[in-house]
């Protein structure tokens, strides 16, 4: 053995990344650069992935600080569509707020909200058509709200009551609706990313026109199934949009742990020849523009696109979590990309298509609608009170046909 090297370089040491600030400190995003709205180019959808690597390290933004829509990604939606988008986001936020309270009241066991991330799923939904399929995580209920899925059904699922479409079997918010292009949420992180790719491959095998959208959180990109998805998507050029929602946190873990030394999550696409875009996730217009670009690529059989939505999880991870233990209380206020609802509202006002009054009025209307839905849902029971799925339901649906051993067990259970 040669004995060069080794000693002359001194001892090694382990690098463990840390967020810039912890509780007690002052939130500081000054080291993060956000390109100006309108400053990032819009390549053609059939651009060679190699010729657009830069987009994995930038941020596509449309709304500028003045609330104007600027640059090559702007002007895709009408006033009406934008107003509708605003209503979707406001509805989602109100829905979340009511369900958070319901959870605290013991009406269900668990809840996860979208606070600050409403634009991502609401705007993306607008780029999909009937027949397309999302493989969502637990933080994309906007896909259902914006797709017109009945809120009462969502609530019945959350309450695990007698009208729960999932018969009480699944955790709250783990919705499923084939009809609404919303694949059954698993709860196991990242597993569905590759399933989304498989679904998209199936569409291509069948020479159909449907496309898939797979969803994952920043933290969950570390999971190995993320790799499986990128490998398969890259190899078979699957018609799928691979979405990464980077809300800066994975429970208590800041994004640097999952991301490591690459500057961004979008960068992951580069190693696979998959075009990768980064977008301001708090900018409804930018999200839609990018979603449209990526879905068009898929529809035109040009293959997968990786999209990183840069946003911020303004609330707790879930009702079981308290973020004050691991990040500064005011960090969400300091978040430079602002609030997606406020930004779209300001834009609409700037456009002359909205006003403070209409906003306040809409807020009230939405609250009424959500409360009415909640009332209806609660009439079918909540987790510990009123109507509930039967113990019999527990034995159903393990298989299409109940096998003898389960029949025996159901008998033993006396149901």
């Amino acid at each position: 053995m040669s004995d060069n090297g080794s000693v002359e370089f001194g001892p090694l040491s382990l690098h463990v990344p840390e967020p810039a600030v912890r509780p007690g400190g002052t939130p500081d995003f000054s080291n993060v650069t956000f390109p100006d709205a309108g400053s990032v180019r819009r390549p053609d959808v059939d651009t060679n992935p190699e010729d657009m690597r830069d987009l994995a390290f930038s941020i596509i933004r449309v709304l500028n600080p003045e609330g104007e829509a600027v640059g090559p990604w702007a002007n895709l939606l009408t006033d009406d569509q934008l107003v509708e988008g605003l209503r979707h986001m406001m509805t989602l936020r109100t829905f979340d707020a009511r369900m958070q309270i319901a959870q605290r009241q013991g009406k269900t066991s668990f809840y996860m909200q979208h606070l600050g991330e409403e634009a991502v799923s609401c705007a993306f939904r607008k780029a999909l058509v009937q027949g397309d399929m999302n493989f969502p995580t637990y933080r994309q209920a906007g896909l259902l709200i914006a797709g017109g899925y009945p809120m009462v059904e969502m609530m019945c699922q959350i309450y695990s009551n007698e009208r729960d479409p999932l018969k009480g079997r699944q955790l709250p918010i783990m919705y499923s609706s084939k009809e609404h292009g919303f694949f059954s949420i698993s709860g196991n992180l990242a597993t569905q990313y590759i399933q989304g790719v498989g679904w998209a491959m199936a569409s291509a095998i069948k020479k159909d026109s449907k496309i898939a959208a797979a969803w994952i959180g920043d933290g969950s990109t570390a999971e190995s199934d993320f790799h499986a998805a990128l490998v398969f998507a890259s190899t078979y050029k699957a018609p799928v949009v691979l979405n990464i929602v980077n809300n800066q946190w994975a429970i208590s873990t800041f994004q640097g742990i999952a991301r490591g030394g690459s500057g961004t999550f979008a960068a992951r696409g580069l190693g696979f020849g998959i075009p990768a875009l980064r977008v301001d996730g708090n900018d409804y217009l930018a999200v839609f523009a990018v979603a449209q670009w990526a879905t068009e690529r898929a529809r035109r059989n040009l293959g997968p696109t990786l999209v990183e939505y840069v946003t911020y999880r303004a609330g707790a991870h879930s009702t079981s979590d308290d973020p004050s233990a691991y990040r500064p209380k005011m960090e969400s206020e300091a978040w430079p990309l602002g609030d997606p609802i406020v930004r779209l509202k300001n834009h609409l006002i700037a456009r002359g298509a909205w006003s403070e009054e209409r906003h306040t009025q809409t807020e009230a209307e939405i609250l009424d609608t959500v409360i009415a839905a909640q009332k209806e849902a609660e009439s079918f029971g909540t987790l510990h009170a009123g109507g509930k799925p039967s113990a019999r339901d527990m034995f159903e649906g393990v298989y299409e046909q109940m096998p003898p051993h389960l029949r025996r067990q159901r008998q033993q259970a006396g149901v």
């Binding site: 493989f135 694949f183 569409s203 190995s224 393990v398």
Partner: protein, 338 residues
């Protein structure tokens, strides 16, 4: 009737189903152009095109995960894991996803998928080409688990598995791909072409999932077994002149408990034989069920003969493999009520 090896009959099952149902797709490592390292998919790509039968990247989680997505789309994927020893990277997708999709979505999405894989030792494959992981699947609600022991059943069961609306784990005992193996590794093996169960009808037929079959009627004791061990059990019983009733379970989950109870109630004695390691093997479930349901008929404890609780060794293959002498000893002891 044409005689086929188990490889040919498995290929025939896929061929038959790909012909009948254009939603059937086949993929896995080396299964496309080459036709699989055991050649089970040979010719399918040429016949059905490369979007129906193709090579997959070496990522078992990806293979099964993609298959789940395809199944939920409406296809019927029949995928190959090159060796069962390599299924563990896909274990999460099978256990957490395929097995629970119908249940958790209340039937909104389903997963009609088959995961085929060669199992078992006896080919000097060492720790990574010899395992029998059936018990790791029988513990998982929502899966079906099938182990054929001959070409006729293999084709019929595989067709039934592909047609099944739920995910099926299809375990192929590679030691008997080419002929029944009775555990006497020093003797020549009869090829399937010389065995009745090598008769495989052309076209479509099924062997129903969830039904065991008696390979031999007998009065003295019942042997519960499956796969390669059916032949080892036959040999052991014959060599010891024991009038054993030999039940080939064929499907482990759901289990044909009725046939088991009927037989053990008659014989009063039971020996369970499998190749997988003993502790927490599927034999434990069988022994537990038999003593539960036949307690007052049992004249001796239910015995288990299984692989030892070690990784599958290379050089000591025949010390490890529960061959006819070990099975025979258990038969004799069980008859003596020891």
């Amino acid at each position: 009737m044409p005689r086929k090896t188990m490889i040919e009959s498995i290929r025939d099952a896929m061929d038959t189903m790909m012909e009948r149902d254009e939603n059937v797709v086949v993929f896995g490592e080396d299964v496309g152009f080459f036709g699989g390292v055991f050649r089970c998919t040979q010719g399918l790509q040429a016949k059905y095109g490369k979007t129906r039968c193709f090579d997959a990247p070496i990522n078992e989680a990806g293979i099964v995960g993609a298959a789940i997505g395809m199944a939920s789309y409406g296809l019927k994927p029949c995928v190959e894991i090159q060796f069962a020893d390599y299924v563990y990277p896909a274990y999460d997708q099978i256990v957490s996803e395929a097995a629970r999709l119908r249940y958790r979505s209340n039937g909104d999405f389903t997963c009609p998928m088959v995961v085929r894989m060669p199992v078992g030792g006896g080919i000097f494959g060492g720790q990574t080409h010899s395992q029998s992981p059936e018990a790791l699947f029988t513990h998982v609600s929502g899966l079906k688990v099938v182990v054929p022991s001959n070409p006729y059943d293999a084709k019929g069961l595989l067709i039934a598995a592909i047609e099944d609306p739920d995910p099926v784990i299809f375990l192929e005992p590679k030691r008997i791909y080419n002929g029944p193996f009775d555990g006497h590794h020093d003797r020549p093996v009869t090829p399937w072409s010389k065995h009745d169960l090598g008769e495989v009808p052309d076209g479509h037929y099924t062997v129903p999932l969830g039904k065991a079959i008696k390979r031999r009627e007998g009065s003295q004791l019942t042997i519960l077994t499956y796969g390669t061990m059916v032949y080892v059990a036959e040999a052991a019983a014959a060599e010891h002149n024991i009038d054993a009733e030999i039940i080939d379970l064929r499907t482990l989950l759901p289990l044909d408990l009725e046939t088991i109870i009927e037989s053990v109630s008659k014989t009063g004695r039971c020996v369970v034989v499998h190749e997988a390691t003993l502790t927490s093997g599927f034999g434990a479930e069988l022994a537990a069920l038999v003593q539960e349901h036949c307690f007052y008929k049992l004249e001796a404890p239910v015995a288990r003969v299984a692989g030892w609780d070690t990784p599958y060794p290379h050089a000591q293959e025949w010390d490890y493999f529960p061959g006819p002498s070990r099975v025979g000893r258990a038969l004799v002891e069980t008859l003596e009520g020891l």
